[in-house]
Symmetry: C2
């Protein structure tokens, strides 16, 4: 196996390696549920913000309206969300279906089990520290706005 001596000291590089390990694990963990990690994220955002529109969802996911629509379409096709009339005639209000509500706990359990596998070499304290440091790097704040046309 070839390696890079200098690479290991680069924080961005280690961040990517850890991210790739985590995404691979969680993708596999969610595949029996028929969802990708990104689609579950969208589902959770809709659950926590019932009635939000597609544009706001896209902003939270950091994708543009066109990409947000593909995700919403996929979730709607699977019967996990529905588009209801929105605050005006242009916008949709997104809501979970009863079917999604009955399945979302199992999906979250799969994600938590994946988190545990990925961090199995860390102590409980280290996990908390890691979560804190990562949250410092990418806080939960509104960002610039969409770069749409």
């Amino acid at each position: 196996m070839i390696t890079g001596t200098e690479l290991g000291d680069l924080l961005g590089y280690q961040l990517q390696r850890a991210y790739l390990a985590a995404i691979e694990d969680v993708r596999e963990a969610l595949s029996p549920h028929g969802l990708t990690p990104a689609k579950l994220t969208a589902l959770l955002l809709i659950r926590d913000n019932p009635g939000c529109d597609q544009t706001a969802l896209g902003r939270a996911l950091r994708v543009n309206r066109s990409s947000a629509m593909k995700i919403v379409n996929a979730l709607a096709e699977r019967g996990l969300i529905e588009r209801r009339p929105g605050r005006d005639l242009r916008s949709n209000a997104l809501h979970l279906t009863a079917h999604a509500r009955s399945r979302i706990d199992a999906m979250l359990a799969a994600v938590r089990a994946s988190d545990d596998r990925v961090t199995k070499l860390l102590s409980e304290g280290d996990r908390g520290t890691l979560l804190r440091l990562l949250t410092t790097i990418a806080p939960h704040e509104p960002k610039t706005g969409e770069s749409d046309a």
Copy 2:
């Protein structure tokens, strides 16, 4: 801005957010050098493993031979690496060009500056801790092997 209450406690989710923040920054930092982060990683791996072949490079990058070739082609087209005769008539030995050697320090400086920007809210000690925890999650070991046909 909509947010997910439960999302912030998921380590994989925070890992992704931090990774996306970092990759966006470093991609911009490297764009004046005409390289993506993945291509600089390949360049560093070749520098640290002169004479390696494309298959070994692909394994280190966790992509298959076909994808590795695209990266090698891109670096060769930019005059940063060259294919020399390898250990047998099937394989290439990859080497940096003098041109790459003259530029790689500036590229690394750009990456380190990006690392600093991304972690600007962390103390020096926190940066070391983060690097250690991330390395624990994804150690530098040989993995399974390529899933090629």
